[in-house]
Symmetry: C2
Subunit: 317 residues, 2 copies
């Protein structure tokens, strides 16, 4: 049995390559299927990190391979063109490895625009997809999560983009959660058909015809209540929503901060809202599996991210 | 001492005039300063509601006055022109009463676009304000709330609008919370200066020069953490954020639903996130005090809304 291969960009995160390497090691100690991680970054830096975590054995056993990359991305680079100008950077290398069939998925905590640009040009979009979207499963008060897209790949969207997100979301939830006809909604400021911007109203009219699961507008207050299976929005709004949800557990804990028992009980039960526990979100609409992790990913977050990337890659085979 | 006078549109809410009238009565039973409420709507309907709640005494004592309005706003009306075409509707009458100096504030749970249009044309904008904004104080995990604007008056904004929101928010928080130099931030998908749309980056550059309290970009995850005193965004994003926060207490309660003791403790402590407990939000940038309540306002929400409208009107005198 061939191992599942995943490329990881060790330079993308805000906390340096040590955090990413340690996160990968955490995942490797938990994953039970044969897998191989390609660590893309500075060879010497990675090897000394592995040594310091007493994990050089992974290298010797070929569970980890190091892809030495010499270029760094700077604020002077045009993010969407980095795939062309900095082919020897860690984030681009990880996606090139995927294009070349060496790995089945890639993961980066780097700049979203760089990852999107490289994914579009190196892996290609699926037919009928004008723009790939970052999607995230949000927990709800029902047992069923809700897929939110876009959460940051496309800050400004035209109607055709939102329509495509709705259709992609419908298919993805149908497959992933095995729901017959997922309820697809569009995030808006009200539920009446006259509400919202022209772009949203135009997209809604088309989705109502094209998408079997289309179920109208949804307001911010009803997403976590579990009133939809798919929520479509532009990447700016989705990003704000996603990040706001990531602070919910802190707010709840703060509300009960004077009661340690209550606080502990709540922390355990609201762990689902802690971004460390989901780690990374997939880009939909591409020929290939690309995961984006938070820039501010902790070791624990990277561990989760690597685990879901390996899982997704293994399902694909 | 003259009573504080406030006009209330009884037709705006989703639950009919009975809910609004009952909400007003709840407020009148709690307010301790001399005040008078002008109920704008159908005379007969209002009087029979007052009778059914055993509250006709308020009418006899001149604490309530009824302003009979005969026109209804329909989905066929152009919201921003209703102030001109439906002068005899309850929402327009309440703002006309304010323009004529009869009342010092008005409150409606009606269509935001109607209220904004009427407020701009009947009351007028303050100097240097291209567009009034709906603003809401959000609770944070610090003791200090954070002012979010816009939360639904302007769905799409140009840079000049966002700049004006920042300046208005700075002044409003300075006055209302007596903070020397409120930290004014702009909601964005990241904190780096290259992040976000061109409109946001342009506005940020100007605010950095014009606003003494300007403190950079803020992400969705840091608002409820209390990392800003003012958060500027367009009305679409603000509306989604506000409504999402309104479901936080439900999410926390659902997380502990199997433990009744925990649930009750949490409900009390997270009451601050329940929209019923703040009731309505003010429109900033106008010559006059206009409050907008949720369309789906409950009796309790209207009671709170009337109380804060009376409070704001009394401070102004």
């Amino acid at each position: 049995m061939q191992p599942v291969c995943v490329a990881v960009d060790v330079n993308g995160g805000d906390f340096g390559s040590g955090t990413i390497v340690e996160g990968v090691l955490g995942a490797l100690r938990q994953i039970t299927i044969p897998c191989r991680i390609y660590l893309c970054g500075d060879h010497q830096e990675i090897v000394s990190a592995l040594k310091s975590y007493d994990a050089i054995g992974f290298l010797e056993n070929d569970v980890i391979r190091v892809e030495h990359c010499v270029q760094n991305i700077t604020p002077m680079d045009v993010p969407t063109r980095v795939w062309k100008t900095k082919k020897d950077s860690s984030v681009i290398r990880s996606i090139v490895l995927q294009r070349n069939g060496v790995v089945q998925a890639s993961l980066s905590a780097g700049d979203t625009r760089v990852i999107i640009g490289a994914s579009i040009f190196l892996l290609g979009r699926k037919k009928g997809v004008p723009r790939p979207a970052l999607s995230a499963f949000m927990p709800t008060i029902n047992s069923r999560p809700c897929l939110l897209l876009d959460v940051g790949a496309n800050l400004a969207c035209r109607a055709e983009h939102l329509i495509s997100f709705g259709l992609m979301g419908f298919e993805y939830v149908k497959q992933t959660l095995a729901i017959d006809k997922p309820r697809v909604t569009m995030l808006n400021v009200g539920q009446e058909s006259s509400k919202g911007t022209k772009v949203i109203r135009d997209a809604a009219r088309v989705l109502a015809k094209k998408c079997a699961g289309y179920d109208g507008f949804i307001e911010g207050s009803n997403i976590l209540r579990g009133e939809a299976d798919v929520v479509v929005c532009d990447g700016f709004v989705g990003n704000v929503f996603l990040k706001t949800c990531e602070s919910i557990h802190l707010v709840a804990e703060a509300a009960v901060k004077d009661d340690l028992f209550l606080k502990q009980a709540l922390r355990e039960r609201m762990a689902v809202f802690n971004s460390e526990n989901y780690g990374a979100v997939p880009l939909l609409g591409l020929h290939g599996i690309v995961f984006k992790a938070h820039g501010a990913s902790s070791i624990k977050a990277i561990t989760h991210a690597v685990k879901i990337a390996v899982m997704a890659a293994s399902r694909r085979e």
